[in-house]
Symmetry: C2
Subunit: 119 residues, 2 copies
Amino acid sequence: MPKELPLVATDACCAPLTRDPLTADQAVELSRLFKAMADPVRLRLLSLIASHAGGEACVCDLTDAFDLTAPTISHHLKVLRESGLITGERRGTWVYYRVHPEVLARLSAVLIADAGVPA
Amino acid sequence: MPKELPLVATDACCAPLTRDPLTADQAVELSRLFKAMADPVRLRLLSLIASHAGGEACVCDLTDAFDLTAPTISHHLKVLRESGLITGERRGTWVYYRVHPEVLARLSAVLIADAGVPA
DNA sequence: TCTCTAATTAGATAGCTGTCAACATAGAGA
DNA sequence: TCTCTATGTTGACAGCTATCTAATTAGAGA
């Protein structure tokens, strides 16, 4: 099992995009995550995994949903893995993937409209 | 002023990614928005515009923040415009951009963790 | 009208990316 | 060990994209 990179940086964390201008580094960091989601196949994979019973899905569950070869699915899963959005774990013959909800939550927080700073 | 496309589709709206698998169409629709944000320059442009005083920024305000030529900035603004994330308006010599907060809010809602369906 | 500046468009190019076929690896079980 | 199946990796290729220079359009003002 290839290892995923620990890209869940804490630096560019949760301040809304709309409050203060992003630094160049924060923008690079965030763009890596958005790049990982900037493909319809990867979005569907993410959604299939996240919404699957038990919060995880075997690759075999995923492949059938697409008109793509197994290597292509594998490639997309690798992109999602390396971005830190999902993790894969081998159990016997099959590999199971699950999402990292914190990463999705962080992105959601970044996009949310700023309510303004109280006081 | 080139017109922006009305890509703010209402179809793939606000159900969290994590609740039900996205349809292929929804995924294509969403991926267009994520693609527009999958670049550090565009993320910073978005952030600069959104956080600028008055909620809008002149192109002249934006160009200085980057080591890029004006045509390159213009290209990125066009991508953001065509994705529906921002709009531009010419007033006299200058062109002012502002973000569409609903689109950001929609993306934020899609990424948020599903709290589950009550009842 | 002429000229200056702001912004965009056009065309070119290097680098990235999604896809496939072919091959490799990892367990399970005979 | 041998074989079968599930995944992943490699290498290749077409299409997309970020960037630049050069040319163009739009408005302001002399």
